[in-house]
């Protein structure tokens, strides 16, 4: 394996209940992993374990082929960056100041970012196309812009693996697509690996259609229910078993000869 991330038989439980049970998967450089599953199935908890917010009760996680427990926070952050789901900022920092926070792991213990960090931060903003509003207060941005700012912050961290927790929740579909296109661009250009928790089957199909190396992991009640390529995992049968929803999955031919899968919801079981 040319392992970026490798999760081996990972379990995690809160005092009252098991939340993640025996999860195993591998990610190589440039891989995209879509983590799916209904609310409360343990996706976020799994991500928290991977980002060493929680300590696993059983099993082990390897980051760059080295056990996660051997890393300190700074070094984890140099390899793995996080794009959060909901985001409230108490103080109205400017976009630039938020993106600069991605440099935390690269700035000395005491002190502030220097010229190199500013350069890095400028590049990250350029990459996702937000340079125009660098000086704008963060709380005056739209939902779509906020997500791009958080993505730029993750990029300025210069990590090889991006972890995202439902990044497109509460975006309209234009903004959703802008975000997905940016991810595809980053994956193609820089071979960044992307671990993304998402509710939308469309995301996995979209990445696949763009030619990325996609794997879908479908979780149910803390355990992996099914994993593999999108068309193998996102099936009408699996959707009905895991989500309790009747659906139709169909294949649409585009005018340029390519095809893309999509899903229609029919009703709850």
């Amino acid at each position: 394996m040319n392992g970026i991330l490798s999760v081996c038989d990972l379990s995690f439980s809160y005092p009252e209940k098991d939340v993640v049970k025996n999860v195993t998967f591998d990610m190589g450089q440039g891989d995209v992993v879509c983590l799916m599953g209904p609310n409360g199935c343990g996706k976020t908890t799994l991500l928290d374990n991977i980002m060493s917010i929680h300590q696993a009760s059983k099993g082990e996680i390897f980051l760059m082929e080295k056990p996660l427990s051997k890393y300190n926070r700074r070094d984890v952050a140099k390899h793995m960056a996080y794009v959060p789901q909901i985001h409230q900022v108490v103080f109205p920092y400017t976009v630039e100041q938020i993106v600069m926070m991605g440099r935390t792991a690269h700035v000395g213990q005491l002190g502030e970012p220097g010229i190199k960090d500013m350069e890095n931060c400028r590049k990250a903003m350029e990459m996702v196309g937000i340079s125009d509003f660098a000086k704008k207060p963060y709380n005056q941005l739209s939902g779509g812009e906020i997500k791009l700012v958080l993505l730029a912050r993750a990029l300025s961290q210069q990590a090889r693996l991006l972890v995202m927790d439902e990044p497109t929740a509460n975006l309209d579909f234009k903004n959703e697509l802008v975000f997905l296109e940016t991810i595809v661009k980053l994956n193609m250009m820089d071979k960044l690996s992307i671990l993304i928790a998402t509710h939308s089957p469309v995301h996995a199909f979209y990445f696949q259609e763009k030619g990325l190396n996609v794997e879908v992991i479908m979780m149910s009640e803390g355990a992996v229910y099914s994993k593999g390529s999108p068309e193998h995992v996102i099936t009408e049968e699996n959707i009905s078993n895991v989500y309790g929803v009747r659906s139709r999955i169909f294949k649409e031919m585009c005018t340029d000869g390519s095809s893309i899968r999509s899903m229609a919801l029919l009703g709850t079981l």
Partner: protein, 338 residues
């Protein structure tokens, strides 16, 4: 590039010059009238005190006005910086430097010294000890599962504050209304009137605490994003929280123990700075230092010169600061808050 560097140095010199000029100005002002040129000739470096005709004037300037100005600068800076740091770390723009119970703990300590032990040096010692003890208690009260989440920590501070306030009220109730009660009341409203060079030892912990916050000022930005994000950005949030809260507590309790509780500065001065330079703590912390110092020097100058008896600082800060704050709020259209 050279223009930005020039601008940086200009800003730095303004930050430094504001409190220094306030300190200089305050030497000229006071109930005892000393002519402008008399003051100038006394403070001119080529004059030493014993040569000068009037020892009395020399004493007023160098034994009364100067130490108060220096202490005002130190205390004002420490209250404002601690307030700004607490606001960032607790992710709450409404907290002030007394949020974890420092002020009420210190008030209780001072009251205890005045009523039970008859004041004196115990006053400083007990107010410092109880100021720090109150924060430790707040921390223990807010601790859950071995870590202290922000909200429970603030709640801990609130309950510990009211706990100590209750004891202070009890001491006020039993205090001698003619000798002890006025001293007690005066202490809880804050004053620099008794400060002399002999109190300058308190500057050591004040400078240490403010220095810690100054050095970790950029980290406050990261901490204000919340523990989880701070962690994923690569910051050991727990360690920095302890460091910054510790620094703020050390400097506030040292300030409070020589000046009494001075409200308002720890809340409003950081907000005035937020309106002027924004929320980035790399700028906010130095500006809070500078404006906090300047503000307290000027207020103290007024408190000792506008009437024959001293007016407690707590009263003046609120009366003068509030209109100024409202003016700024309107002028900057809320400074980015929505």
């Amino acid at each position: 590039m050279s223009r930005t560097i020039a601008k940086k140095w200009l800003v730095r010199s303004i930050i430094l010059l504001l409190p220094i000029s306030a300190m200089f100005l305050t030497l000229f002002v006071g109930r005892y009238h000393i002519g402008f040129f008399d003051v100038l000739s006394i403070i001119a470096p080529w004059n030493s005190g014993d040569q000068y005709s009037s020892d009395q004037l020399w004493t007023i300037i160098f034994q009364l006005r100067l130490p108060r100005a220096i202490a005002g600068a130190m205390i004002g800076a420490s209250l404002a910086v601690s307030g700004a740091a607490y606001q960032g770390v607790f992710r709450n723009p409404l907290v002030n430097s007394g949020i974890l119970g420092v002020s009420s703990g210190a008030s209780f300590g001072a009251s205890l010294a005045i009523v039970v032990f008859g004041g004196g040096y115990l006053n400083y010692l007990l107010s410092f000890v109880f100021g720090v003890a109150a924060v430790l208690l707040a921390y223990l009260a807010g601790r859950i599962y071995g870590s202290a989440p922000t909200i429970t920590l603030v709640l801990g501070g609130v309950v510990v504050s009211s706990f100590f306030s209750a004891f202070t009220s009890m001491l006020k109730y039993v205090a001698d209304p003619y000798s002890e009660l006025p001293a007690l009341t005066f202490w809880t409203m804050g004053s620099l009137s008794s400060i002399g060079y002999k109190h300058f030892w308190a500057f050591i912990p004040i400078i240490a605490g403010v220095g810690i916050i100054y050095l970790s000022r950029w980290k406050i930005n990261i901490l204000s994003m919340g523990d989880k994000e701070a962690a994923t950005l690569g910051l050991d949030a727990k360690w920095y929280k302890v460091l910054i809260i510790g620094g703020a507590t050390l400097s506030t309790s040292s300030a409070v123990c020589i000046s009494g509780t001075i409200g308002w500065i720890g809340l409003i001065v950081p907000h005035i700075c937020r309106m002027i330079v924004g929320n980035d703590n790399t700028k906010l912390i130095p500006w809070s230092m500078s404006l906090g110092a300047t503000f307290l020097i000027l207020i103290d100058t007024l408190s000792r010169s506008i009437s024959t008896s001293e007016i407690p600082i707590g009263i003046l800060t609120a009366i003068l600061g509030t209109p100024f704050f409202v003016y700024l709020l309107k002028k900057t259209k809320g400074g980015g808050w929505k």
